[in-house]
Amino acid sequence: MENFKEILINITYLVASFLFIFGIKRMSSPATAKNGNLISGIGMLLAIVVTLMDRHIISYELIIAGLVIGSAIGAVLAYKVQMTAMPQMVGLLNGFGGGASALVGMAEYYHVSLLGFPDDGGKFLVSVGLSLLIGAVTFTGSLIAFGKLQGIVTGKVVKIPGQNVVVILLILAIFTLIGLGISQPDNMLFFELVVGLSLLLGVLLVMPIGGADMPVAISLLNSYSGIAGSATGFVIDNNMLIIAGALVGASGIILTNIMCKAMNRSIMNVLLGGWANVADTGAGDSSAADKVVKSVDTEEAAMLFSGASKVMIVPGYGMAVSQAQHAVKELMNVLEKNGTDVRFAIHPVAGRMPGHMNILLAESNVPYDKLFPLDEINDDFKNVDISLVIGANDVVNPAARNNPQSTIYGMPILNVDYSKTVIVVKRSMNAGYAGIENDLFYMDNTLMYFGDAKDAISKLVNELKAMNS
C-alpha cells in the first residue's frame, strides 16, 4: 500500500511537471495564455493534493492552518492590487517564494540533524547551503524591491562606502560558512550565520538599483526565486521542484537579458548601481538657456489631432504614475471615430517591469493587436503624423542615436523624432532617470504639452469631442 502511494505520488509529480511546461507553452499567445495559466494551476493543485498523502506527513493541523492563511492572503492581494502596482506585487510574491524555499531548507536541516546526518550527507548539506543562500537573498532583495516600488524605500541609488568590496567579502564569508557547515554539520551556528549574512546580502544587492532599472531587478529576482526552488528540490530529492524551479529560473534570466539589451547595458552595470556611476560627459552642450521649447495648449493640440490621419502613442512610466491609461483609451476612441489610425509603440523598458505598459492598456480595453514592440514599429515613425509621448523620456531621447558622448548612447530608442510632429505630455522640463537632457524637447517638430498626463489627456479628449459635435 505504501509502495503504491509512493508510485502514485511520483506519477502525479510527473503529470504536474508536464502541465507546468504545457501551461507555459500556451503563454506564447494572448489568445491561449489564460488557458495556459489554468493548466499550470491545475498542475500545482494536483501536486499539492497528492503531497498530502506523503508518508512523512503525520499531522495536518499546521498544514491546514498554513494553507488557509496563505491562500486567504494571496487571494486578497490578487484581487485588491491595482494594475499600476503590478511590479511591486510581483516583487512581493517573489519574496515569499524565496523565503519559503529558505525556510524549507532550514527546516529540513534541523529535522535531519535530529535524526543524525548520514555518512554521505555531502550532497544534502551542499543543497541546504545553496537553498539558504539563494532563498534568503531572494527574500530580502524582493522586499527591498517592493519597498522601492511602493515608495517606502527610496527609489534612488543607495550605496554604502566600499559597497562592492563589502559585497564580495560577504559572498566569500557565506561560502566559507557553507563549507564549514558541511564539514561540521552538527554545529548549527554555521548555517544559521549563512542565513543571516544572506539576508543582509539581499538588501545590499538591491539597494543600489535605481527606479528605472527596476525591470532588471524584478526579472532577476524572479529568476532567483526559481533557482531557490530548484535548490530546495535538491535538498528533498524532488524532481518536480527542480523542473519547476529551472523553468522559472530560465524565464527570469531571459527577461533580465531582454531588459539589459533594451538599455544597452551589461547586467553587471545595472547591478552595480546604474547610470549614476558612468562618467557623464554628454551634458556638454546642455545649457538649456539658448534652446527654444515650443509648447501647445489644449485647443492647439486638439486642432493638430483633428487634422492627423496616423497617430502613434508612446506611453512611459508617467502614464502609470498618473493612472492615465483610461484617458488614453478614450483619446483613442475619439480619434478613431474621427477616422484617425491609432497605434501604440511600447519600449521594452517602459514602466517598472517587463510588459508593464501592456497590462495597463489591456486594463483600459485597448486591443492588444494595436500594441507594437520596438523592433516591429520603429521603421514606421516616418509615416506618422503625430507621435504622442506620454510620460516617457529616456526611451525617446535621440541622443542615444546621435551623441556618442551621451551616457545612453547605443540604447535602442523609439524613433519618435522621425514623425512629422511630436507632442510630449510632461509635467515639467525635468530630466528623466538617466539624469540627462532630452534633445527631443527642443527639436523643431516637437511641441510640449505640459500637465499631469491624466489631466492633460482628459482635457484633450473633451476638446476633441467639442470640436466634433
Binding site: N37, M44, A75, V248
Partner: protein, 94 residues
C-alpha cells in the same frame, strides 16, 4: 526518492532549464508581465517541501518553519495564479 544520485538531479535541472529557455523565448513582449507573475506562481512549487516540513508530527523548530513556509508558499501560489488570471482576462483582441 532516497539515494537518487546527484548527477541524476543535475541532469533534470539542466534539461528543464533548456526547455524553459526554448519556451520563454517564444512569449511575446505584450505578455511579459503575466508571464512573470505566472512563472512566479510556479516557483511556489516549494510548497511541496513546506507541506512535508510542516507535517512531521512534532512541534519543534522544523515544523514551525514548515508552517511559515506553507503560508509564504501559498501566498505565492494563490496570489500568483489569481493575479495572472486577472490580467489575462483583460487581454482582448479587437
Amino acid at each position: 526518492m532516497e539515494g537518487t544520485s546527484l548527477l541524476m538531479l543535475i541532469y533534470v535541472f539542466v534539461l528543464a532549464a533548456f526547455v524553459g529557455v526554448e519556451l520563454i523565448n517564444k512569449v511575446p513582449p505584450t505578455l511579459h508581465t503575466p508571464l512573470m507573475s505566472g512563472s512566479n506562481a510556479i516557483s511556489g512549487i516549494t510548497i511541496i517541501g513546506s507541506l512535508i516540513a510542516a507535517g512531521i508530527g512534532e512541534t519543534n523548530a522544523s515544523s514551525i518553519m514548515g508552517f511559515v513556509a506553507v503560508v509564504f508558499a501559498m501566498i505565492n501560489v494563490v496570489g500568483g495564479y489569481l493575479v495572472t488570471d486577472r490580467m489575462l482576462r483583460m487581454f482582448k483582441k479587437k
